[in-house]
């Protein structure tokens, strides 16, 4: 039909009318329950509307947002101070990273051009920084900076040695990112001044429930997403091997995904039980002592994370499996001819060609994980963690504000903050994805 209709004739408008008739139900429902609420929620978030003035809500500007971030107690230092420190550390870390990467490139350049002058500059630069770092480490004698240093060195070495092999940029990106984080942490520790953003967040979250909910949600997302992706990719790779009774394995992995979160959270609540739980028993076989999974605030986010990873593993694995099966066998055959090892095949064929799937799983997981609520609600009997709001997540905050406190305005404002965070993150992911995802397959 598309080819039949080129101009905007009478027939076109007739078809437009018919199309809208077809779309009418979807339009009405989406209009009432999606489009309208998006705007209405935004408006609501600027209104004072709670149980006290249900009849006559009134406009009170950004008060709702301000209340979300209002702190119960004063902070030892200001946000800008923290920002300044963070900025300084970040800049230093980037500088060092750049220096090293430049020097590595120089080394390569030197290999080709045999420039003695450059060689000496590089050597001096590297040895000076190593001496500087080593002296500061030994002067302070802390264990963390040493660990960070070792980690950072390992990352650099990895980049260095893999450079000639790596034709794609992804390992460079990840290496740089990990290197950056480690360097940042290292600099923070050796400087001894800890007033940067991370510490700022640590202090702030204890004096504002909403900040804590953001912190917890981020913690949960960072804990759950990579674990889930790595494990499900592993399972997909295993299931991609020709095995007997494959359908059975696939079904086993998938069953948790289709069961209700409430039911499986109840099961996990029983497994996590402090005194009689199966998990503690399995750990005790390996000599571990009993862990207070459900009554220690330290474990609140990890417990809900374990449940989520376990539940979504099958779903992600199935998607990865489909992605794996869509990769043309030709690439592997060619690699076999070249005598590539499994690891190399994975790195240079599977991983890049799987990147659209990985990207999809990443986006879906991140968005899904931001909305964590049900397993928390069930595992902790309707409370955000055993005590001290240790499991307060953003959706739980919205739920509490709306359902328990009946503060519609504040709940809307919190929901909008969540919305914005998700949008910004997704946007960021798409930007990165555009550069890194290989759609050539």
């Amino acid at each position: 039909m598309r080819n039949v209709l080129a101009g905007h004739g009478k027939k076109y408008w007739k078809e437009t009318f018919q199309a809208y008739l077809f779309l009418l139900p979807s339009f009405v429902i989406l209009g009432i329950f999606v489009f309208w609420p998006i705007g209405y929620s935004f408006v609501l978030s600027f209104f004072k509307w709670d149980f006290a003035n249900q009849k006559n809500p009134y406009f009170n500007g950004v008060e709702n947002y301000a209340r979300l971030f209002k702190l119960d107690m004063p902070l030892p230092y200001s946000f800008f101070e923290a920002l300044a420190y963070s900025f300084a550390y970040a800049a230093a870390a980037v500088l060092i990273l750049k220096l090293i990467s430049v020097s590595l490139n120089m080394k390569k350049a030197y290999g080709n051009q045999k420039s003695i002058y450059r060689k000496s500059v590089v050597f001096l630069g590297i040895s000076a920084s190593i001496v500087f770092i080593a002296t500061t480490v030994f002067a302070r004698m802390e264990i963390y900076p040493v660990l960070f240093l070792v980690g950072a060195l390992a990352v650099f070495l990895n980049i260095w040695f893999s450079k000639p092999l790596a034709k794609n940029q992804s390992s460079g990106l990840w290496g740089n990112l990990i290197g950056f984080i480690l360097l940042y942490a290292f600099l923070k520790y050796i400087s001894g001044v800890r007033f940067e953003l991370y510490d700022f967040l640590q202090v702030t979250k204890e004096s504002s429930v909403f900040v804590k909910s953001i912190y917890n949600t981020l913690y949960y997302v960072i804990l759950t997403t990579p674990t889930g992706i790595v494990l499900s990719l592993g399972i997909a790779l295993l299931l991609n091997v020709p095995l007997k009774a494959k359908a059975f394995y696939r079904t086993s992995f998938f069953i948790p995904y289709i069961t209700s979160v409430v039911a499986i959270s109840l099961v996990w609540k029983w497994i996590f039980n402090d005194e009689y739980g199966m998990l503690n028993y399995l750990m005790s076989i390996f000599g571990a002592s009993k862990v207070k999974w459900l009554t220690d605030e330290m474990w609140t986010i990890p417990t809900i994370s374990i449940v989520a990873v376990w539940k979504n593993l099958g779903y992600n694995a199935i998607i990865f499996l489909a992605g794996l099966q869509s990769i043309d066998k030709f690439y592997y055959e060619a690699a076999d001819v070249d005598g590539a090892r499994s690891i190399q095949k994975f790195r240079h064929i599977t991983w890049p060609l799987l990147s659209p799937t990985t990207f999809f799983v990443l986006i879906v997981s991140v968005i899904g994980n931001f909305k964590v609520f049900t397993q928390l609600y069930v595992l902790y009997d309707g409370l955000p963690g055993p005590y001290n709001n240790s499991g307060m997540t953003m959706v739980f905050y919205i739920f509490n504000k709306f359902y328990k406190d009946q503060r519609m305005g504040e709940a809307s404002a919190a929901a909008y903050v969540l919305f914005m965070i998700i949008i910004v993150l997704t946007f960021f992911q798409f930007r990165v994805g555009k550069q890194k995802v290989n759609y050539s397959s």
Binding site: E15, F22, S26, I38, I255, S260, F402
Partner: protein, 782 residues
Amino acid sequence: MRKKYFKPIVYILVFIGVITMLMPFAWMIVTSFKLDSEVESWPPQWTSENFAFSRQLNLNLVRSEDVSIDFSSLTIEEFFNLNTLLQSMRSEEKVLSYSVDDDAPYRGIMTLKLSAAGNPVSYSKKFDNNKLNELINLLSEENVENKEFYSFLQTLNGIEDPELKISSLLNQMFYKENAFVSRKNMVSFVEETSLSVLEYLEKNGSKLIGNSKLKITDEDSSEERLEKEEIKKYLESVVEKFPTKVGKLSLFLDDFIKGKPELAIEEINKFETEFVNLFSDIMATEFDSEKWSVMRVFDKYVSSPLKTVSNLLKAGDMTFRFFGDAQEINTDDFEIAFRFKPSEAIREELIRSIGESGYSVSEKTLVLDLIEKNDLEKTTNMLMGIFDEQLSENLISLGFDKDKSISVSSSIKEFTENLNSEINSAGKIENDVIAAITANDNFSEILAGNDIPKTRISVINSQYNKIMGSAESGNIDLAKINRLIVKRYEDSKFVKYYSSLYTKISSSMEIIKAPEIVKDVRYKNRRSVEIVFDSVNPIWFWDENPELKVDYSVSEWLANLFQNYVNAWETGKYFGNYYFNTVLVATVTTVLDILFAAMAAFAFSKLNFFGKNFLFSLFLATMMVPGEVLLVPNYITLSKFGWIDTYYALIVPWTVSVFVIFLMRQHFMSIPNELYDAGRIDGISKWGFLWKIIIPLSKPVIITGALLKFVGSWNSFLWVLIVTKSPEVRTLPVGLSNFNSDVGTLYNQLMAASTFSMLPIVILFLFVQKYFIQGISRTGLK
């Protein structure tokens, strides 16, 4: 080489993964089969006694004298029935009662052996009162020094009934909390005595030895000198050795204190031997205390306290022996086998008993109707409910408004309950009181004339006045109110009668095999087993070690396995509702969603119209919006529509899912347009084309979309939690979460509920997993 190991390693890893994924489900199912007491076990067990065809149960003897009522453990029926319960406890029936200290069975053939295999059961049919009196006299003579014990023995002499006498003796000697020869009491008694003697010797030992009477004077004969020397030596050795003896004793006591509160005869003997071995030389001296005043003092403060102890032990031993000897009948064949009566038999018996009772025809027909139509266990509550309803209806018809009638009916209920308990305690004044109330006379005088405490009367009076006061303020005929009160009184009496009748009939077991002396076996509320004897006093069985075994048939075994499922379903009350709602909501949502999605997907794939691309991207963009953002405004919208707490709220907002539209559009695009052109020649419309050609060609994608939607709807939680309030509308996940907060830590029931709530969806998945997994795979590949 690497190739060779590759596959086994993959298999191992996959198996580890599969076990990790399935273990929680396996553990859930195993837990759901467990008995209550097995749930919290460390280390966790993968088995249950429920998996076996027979079970051994722990029984604890309940001695008739220590019957006390634990009000917290009473069922509603028992509570209504409190007075009857108390009466039955005081009754003349000869009942041997055991409490079941275990997960009591719901079914099966129970076999009670009073004594382990090989040990005969002994009891007595006739009892020689003279011998008992002789024993008591003997004990009294020997224990004059022990004042407490002596006075107890004297009170025993006042009891006429020999069986009551011996049971009191046994109870006070061995079994009561503060029994004389119980483990705790004996140990503390011995400790106290030995320590007081020790203290005395430490303080006064040297004085005793250095007593002036023991000084050897010139007047003494050689014999006297010798005796004085010997006494001195004896006293010195006692004072010297006593601390070590006490040390030994306390070592013995530390060990002895561990064990059951009651002592067995062997233990009493052992204790006695130990004690006599340690202190025999002190308890009996060879010196004449008449002659030696020192020895008199020694006797008073050292020997005789120790003697009291040994006498008490001896008394315990004698009583035990007497108790054993008095049982002249020994039998190996004392096995009682019984099982539950079928509910039909209980029903028949109930109907018969009610028919024979003297209650009015209307009451009888009411209750008979209930019995015939309902689960018997619920009838008592239902009967109460009917009377409650009648009361409030009558109040409203008298002219009370609704709110008032609730408060008045609750005061009438309170008043009649209190009145009933006072009347029961006072005896035969019921008719007078009822007559007084009917005649609007002052009934409190009758109460006052029958020894009822004034405070109680004033409580009852004030309750009565409250009712009258609210009747007066509403200008309602007092006589009519009084008639209602009397009716309520009679009604609640009838409920009590019925509940006690039901308890009696339903707790009585069908005896399969029993000795002649057993008249009836009762198994009450799965908490106690009572054996009613014809002519034998149950105290003769107090020294036996009972064993209760239950055997199950195959069907009973199955019923046992799923007992937690039944319990959970009944405790949760609304699971039937939840199930129905979940199926209804999920089905309707899915059907509507597929319908709407097919229409929208058709428009987006096969039609060319104004704003198509814009609309499609707009639709797709909504997939980014987290549902939680829409929670508050949607709730407001729904409450404006008046849809809160209705099925509409659960269905309508979810009837369009962009994801399914997208899925279907992708598939519709792959259907060639030529089909439409061909169809148009046959005169088919666009609508017809969609339903007659495209849909039949898209079955897999429709099944996938429908399944995803169905599962999503079945499992949705937060939305249902927020927009519904009543269990009549809520769905399984919310119901399950409520059940979780209701039952707390009964994990076997929780796991049973989890299992049956996820079962349908898992079965559905197992049947259609191919489509499901295909669909999921497709979502990842755009």
